[in-house]
Point group: C2
């Protein structure tokens, strides 16, 4: 049978998918106007009617328990009724949400301009016909990247790799670092025949003894390799085999910063010296450190900050030792710190080698220096390699962020939030300590875990959802649509909750 006879009847391919989509979602021209009026309808404040979790959440949890783990579930959420900075739970309680799905909602709940994307063929088609992006990308993929991620690229980093989540972002940035480290040792050559054969047995030289240097208190994800460098909580790590990689101490500052300059400077110096020494020791033991990975603020570990001077020192050590410098901005990126990336406040002489992201960017991935592209196919690869629908959403998020100057506003409002926390600290000196923040990514410490956990519950019962991290830290992770009005509600609730415990 000849192919020509099979296809001869086909004159042209109709735009079937697009036509079928248009049947579903005819453009509504009154839309923009109508949505504008909805924006003013955010609840005026929290309203708590039941204990949280309430009876409906408990019934749903019992139902779910039969088929899926529920051990970490706080309560169930009525996302259809949640809006802006306010989350509504299954029992109709309205909470002011300054935790925002573990800091992953850039514009809060159901932002009208994102809901409007239901009208965009680019949202539904890739959801239904998901591409294997590494092999068969959409025709608009380069445009989508240009209109979303590249508009917020860190200075000096013009290349980006999309992935699915923060963990896969870190995994693949580290893989890229390993590839380049070994390529450098080979003088730029591709792997040798001996390397290719030995790696199939997980043996040297193809499987090298290389390490990634991380820090105590860090969090970089929960895959088994990432858990080798994640050291925020023991329950995340226990019972799992791990790579025996070196770990350095991260500065632990005393607050207020301006009263503890000398101590904190010594922290930086001590930690930097340790990093240098660990790199040397590891190398002398036959295990080169190929990459160093660090968060601008150790978020899960307890919101531990490092100074710009410390990070410049780290980059300097990395450059001196041929170690790739990876900045994990999964939680600090996206504008909450008052710049789109926290590391942009370090005044680095050259950009980091890799900047990883996820959460508020909706898609995971990493930016990297041009010379760190991988030239052989299928080395940095998986089936999906990200998802175009996330880029369509991010494109609109970036539109809103830029038009409304939301990053600058996070900086301004963050200063007010931090001032408010310091005022609470002066009013409740036995409960609130070490207030600190960058933009609206703020936190304070409480005396111990039990007091902190009790406080979080009390605040929730009053209508304020905030998060815990580290041993006894309270963290704020508002969306970028957080305003002075929400700040005032939050500070009043915090004061009431502190009085009540």
């Amino acid at each position: 049978m000849m192919i020509s006879t099979l296809v001869s009847r086909q004159q042209r391919l109709p735009l079937i998918a697009e036509a079928s989509y248009r049947l579903v979602c005819p453009t509504n021209r009154r839309l923009t106007h109508s949505l504008a009026s909805l924006a003013s309808r955010e609840p005026e404040g929290p309203a708590v009617r039941t204990p949280i979790p309430g009876p409906k959440s408990n019934i749903l949890k019992d139902q779910m328990e039969k088929v899926h783990q529920t051990t970490s579930i706080n309560f169930f959420v009525d996302y259809e009724r949640s809006f802006g900075n306010f989350m509504v739970d299954a029992d109709g309680n309205t909470l002011l949400d300054l935790f925002t799905q573990i800091s992953s909602l850039p514009l809060g709940y159901n932002h009208p301009e994102l809901i409007q994307l239901a009208n965009d063929v680019r949202l539904i088609i890739p959801a239904v016909s998901r591409p294997a992006l590494g092999a068969f990308p959409r025709t608009d993929f380069a445009d989508l990247i240009a209109n979303s991620l590249l508009r917020v690229a860190p200075r000096g980093l013009s290349h980006v790799q999309t992935m699915l989540c923060g963990t896969s972002a870190n995994e693949n940035a580290i893989k890229t670092a390993f590839i380049h480290y070994q390529t450098r040792l080979r003088g730029g050559a591709v792997p040798t025949a001996q390397q290719l054969s030995s790696c199939m047995r997980n043996e040297a030289p193809g499987t090298p003894s290389l390490a990634v240097l991380g820090f105590n208190g860090s969090f970089h994800g929960r895959s088994l390799c990432m858990l080798s460098i994640t050291r925020s909580k023991a329950i995340h790590k226990v019972d799992f085999p791990a790579f025996d990689w070196p770990v350095a101490n991260f500065p632990r500052y005393l607050y207020p910063l301006d009263e503890n300059k000398q101590y904190n400077l010594e922290q930086d110096e001590r930690c930097l010296a340790e990093v240098s020494q660990l790199i040397d020791t590891s190398k002398s033991e036959g295990r080169d450190v190929a990459a160093l990975i660090v968060e601008p603020i150790q978020c899960e570990g307890g919101d531990h900050h490092g100074s710009a001077r410390f990070f410049r020192g780290l980059q300097n050590i990395c450059q001196d030792n041929g170690v790739y410098f990876i900045v994990d901005e999964v939680q600090t990126g996206g504008g909450i710190c008052g710049t789109f990336w926290a590391h942009e406040q370090w005044d680095l002489p050259t950009p980091p080698d890799f900047v990883t992201f996820s959460k508020k960017t909706l898609i995971g991935g990493y930016f990297y220096r041009d010379e760190l592209r991988v030239n052989e196919p299928y080395r940095i690869y998986n089936t999906w390699m990200g998802e175009p629908t996330k880029l369509v959403l991010l494109e609109r998020v970036v539109d809103v962020i830029k038009r409304e100057h939301l990053v600058a506003k996070a900086g301004e409002l963050g200063a007010k939030l931090l001032a408010g926390l310091k005022e609470l600290e002066s009013r409740h000196p036995n409960l609130v300590m070490n207030s600190r923040g960058l933009g609206t990514l703020c936190s304070f410490d409480m005396p111990n875990t039990a007091v902190r956990d009790g406080f979080l519950k009390k605040a929730m019962s009053m209508g304020l959802l905030i998060g815990g991290c580290g041993e006894a830290t309270v963290r704020f992770r508002p969306a970028l649509v957080f305003t002075k009005r929400h700040l005032d509600i939050a500070l009043a609730l915090l004061d009431d909750a502190l009085k009540a415990i």
Copy 2:
């Protein structure tokens, strides 16, 4: 400021998000009827107008090259114009697609009933307001799981954990196995204080020396830990550190099966004996094997099949040694094998401990035996833990699969496809060898990599998209909407392409 004054003006929270959604997507009652007529408009056959990749794909690749790696890109796809079994590329070439985005499109391109979900509030709201499912699930989450994954749960496995992709599915099934292995050693107790403190230094006893046993030729993902057990291609593994875990040989059968019974039986016996021995050796070296992970068919490695007898033997060895038995059905699951899960054809006396999935299920995750739930919170956890929109899509996919009996049809059509390949084998004995298949997951071998790659290109130039795997294997991964009509086109094109090389 009292909270009561802040919230007093709020009477009730309007269904803002849902109202705004309805403005965007008013229900179209003529929809179902109209879509039904579209279904008959799938192209009648392939139509190739340019070399592939064509000039437009090449321009897009140059554009993308400036900001994102492009080394593994075949060509760019016009997803809006692709439909059913036919993919249309950037240059307007129409290909019959039997590779389906690396086997991840259950119903082909832009299935009308999935496109119709653009009208479903449950698709757009979770896309815009994505939950951290482990902490704050949607009120409909248990229902969504019941209506999607549980309707296709493997016999005997009623619990499921959602994840993002196949790699995270395998990572977390393995983590769960490690947790239970160590818990068993502790007599059911939670980790000791010493384990909790030592694991923070990646040291025993909290960081145990445990192994996962895998097979030569396997593929379980590309995170650094999964690459320790993935052994399909050296270029995936080289330059990365790895866990030094034991590896067994997987059977390599001679075809046709009925002429090589004794040889193949010996393959099974030899590999099973090796697995037993490796578990013993590893234990004696102080590194217990906690889990064994295996694919029903080693897909990426070259479509290597194992017999039901072999897999029953593996499970038996695992049970005798207290080793968890993980079946990786990321590529074999979803109905393509003629049963929803390939392992359902093994006649196992009890279900596997874990069955992992992704690709055709649209969401990653794993089913597990009831007694393997993890009782402590935050051990199996990450920010997103999957995505509700994928379950909404999967719910509809399962509707269509069940209503149209697509799994049984994959079995029937697979037999026809395999018969067709065997006929090609008899006509082109120097080019086509070892035809094999389970359902429509079929394949054959060619003499070497160069011939296979040339053949794939030739077939593509004639309008047929198929995949390669292993050294010299051609693999077929059609969607479940593949029919006799498409099979006839494919067989004719295969014959033409074989004649042309």
